[in-house]
């Protein structure tokens, strides 16, 4: 394992049945870095995260995580690898039948033989790290969205993972919670040396946080670079995305027959042709 990359992807294609989701993806994520994968909703970024986590298998191409070939990995090896990975899901995915404390302690109970007092201390440390030691006895239903996300983060880092994956960590959060989550991601990265992969469409927050950015559009990487390169990019797609412009390479209107045809009754959806 001479490579210093935590994740290496080359010429990766992924299809659901006949539908191509990812096409010819090349990516290299160095150990200890924070990398963002950005793009519109439905462009294939979450699929990419699931491929890295081994929940999906590539249709074609190579994908290796910490030196493991994810196409040929056995279920046992995959489970061993996942013990070194953490994932923060979009809405937390906390276990609703367990308290906050039990959620964070879950992996320690399942994967280790640690004593009860050690599990208690470690769990409280993780909760302290996200500032929520005070809600240890609450059930997930009694938490706000931002708190649930932070508890989920504490749970994801319970076993000090080497790779952390964040699926839309900022979606649906108020600016304060967003700032807190961003700070936590940065702190965890510097304290544990974790490689972090963030899938997001939150441009400004992410550009402040990450070392490198990949832009995905319709299953293809259309741009990549450091945050400075991205901010000063003249590529029309990147410019539209970074500055939130309404129209551009990604059109405001979903493809439809022209308005003139519609009014003239030449379109199959226009009222006149429907009565014809």
């Amino acid at each position: 394992m001479a490579s210093d990359a935590a994740v290496e992807i080359s010429r990766l294609n992924f299809r659901y049945g006949e539908r191509a989701i990812l096409k010819g993806i090349n990516m290299r994520i160095p150990r200890g870095s924070i990398v963002a994968i950005m793009g519109q909703s439905g462009c294939g970024k979450t699929t990419l995260l699931r491929l890295i986590g081994g929940q999906l298998k590539p249709t074609e191409g190579d994908l290796s995580v910490e030196g493991h070939d994810m196409k040929a990995i056995t279920p046992d090896a995959l489970y061993r690898l996942r013990r070194q990975m953490g994932m923060l899901f979009q809405f937390g995915a906390l276990f609703t039948d367990l308290s906050v404390f039990e959620n964070v302690a879950f992996q320690m109970r399942e994967h280790t033989d640690l004593s009860e007092s050690l599990i208690r201390d470690l769990t409280l440390l993780k909760l302290q790290a996200v500032g929520l030691r005070g809600v240890r006895d609450r059930m997930p239903g009694a938490l706000s969205g931002g708190m649930a996300r932070r508890v989920a983060l504490a749970r994801a880092i319970a076993l000090d993972p080497m790779i952390m994956m964040y699926d839309e960590p900022f979606t649906g959060l108020d600016p304060i919670s967003m700032g807190v989550i961003a700070k936590l991601i940065r702190d965890l990265n510097s304290a544990l040396g974790t490689t972090s992969i963030i899938v997001t469409h939150d441009v400004q927050e992410s550009l402040r946080l990450v070392d490198y950015v990949y832009f995905v559009s319709e299953g293809v990487i259309v741009a990549e670079g450091t945050p400075e390169e991205i901010r000063s990019s003249n590529l029309p797609y990147v410019h539209q995305f970074v500055w939130g412009e309404m129209d551009g390479p990604v059109p405001f209107h979903y493809p439809a027959p022209s308005m003139q045809d519609f009014l003239a009754g030449n379109s199959p959806h226009s009222r006149r042709s429907m009565h014809a």
Partner: protein, 263 residues
Amino acid sequence: MLNKTRQELENVGRMSLDLVSGIGAVFVFLLLTLRYSATSFQRFSLTIREIFFSGVLSLIIILVSGLFVGMVLGLQGYETLQTYGSSESVGVLVALSLTRELGPVVSALLFASRAGSAITAEIGLMKATEQLSAMEMMAINPIARVVGPRFWGGVLSMPILTAMFIGTGVLGGYIIAVLLIGVDSGAFWSQMNAAVDFSHDVVNGLLKSFVFGLAICSIATYQGYAAAPTAEGVSGATTRTVVSSSLAILALDLVLTAFMLKG
């Protein structure tokens, strides 16, 4: 005309294929559950918790229904037997009806609606809120950790609930026949004692309920696990659990009864 007949035949064919592949999928899922069942027994506290949710929380509906079914049997049985002058045999009628058929079948139908639907909804919602994915990403097999304990909790609860249903049913028959109508108490119990065979009636009845438990819990866990991760997906899966389980119980009852009858 020919086209229409052909289309109807195609529909029948497609439905048959769906039915067979559906039964196959449930069976494959059952084998997977059995394969990963070690956790359910090594950490029995997980299964005990599910016995509480599936079994203990179903007690009210099972006991109340058992009592009413027994009382109705007592009334109907007395009415019919009186015609032949053998109203003392009402205890036999109540006990045999309950141990052989009504106990296992009715309690299984109630269990499918009360506990089976809850198992499906819970697993389906865990899937919809990505809790199962989260578990997978933590290198924990959801079939071993989530499905197994719920499956075994239900399977172990079912025969106990049936036994309780039969017990309260007999009590219901006694209340009506002996306490209200005035059938001789000694005749009621002694005829029942003489006519009910332990291995042929009681054990076979509980064996049936064990098989029904296996069917209900396989269907309920499968439907939850395979549900589309949306609100409609979970509600559809819950309905399918109740409908498929009920039909499976009735079909299995016919097959089991055919094998169990002495003659």
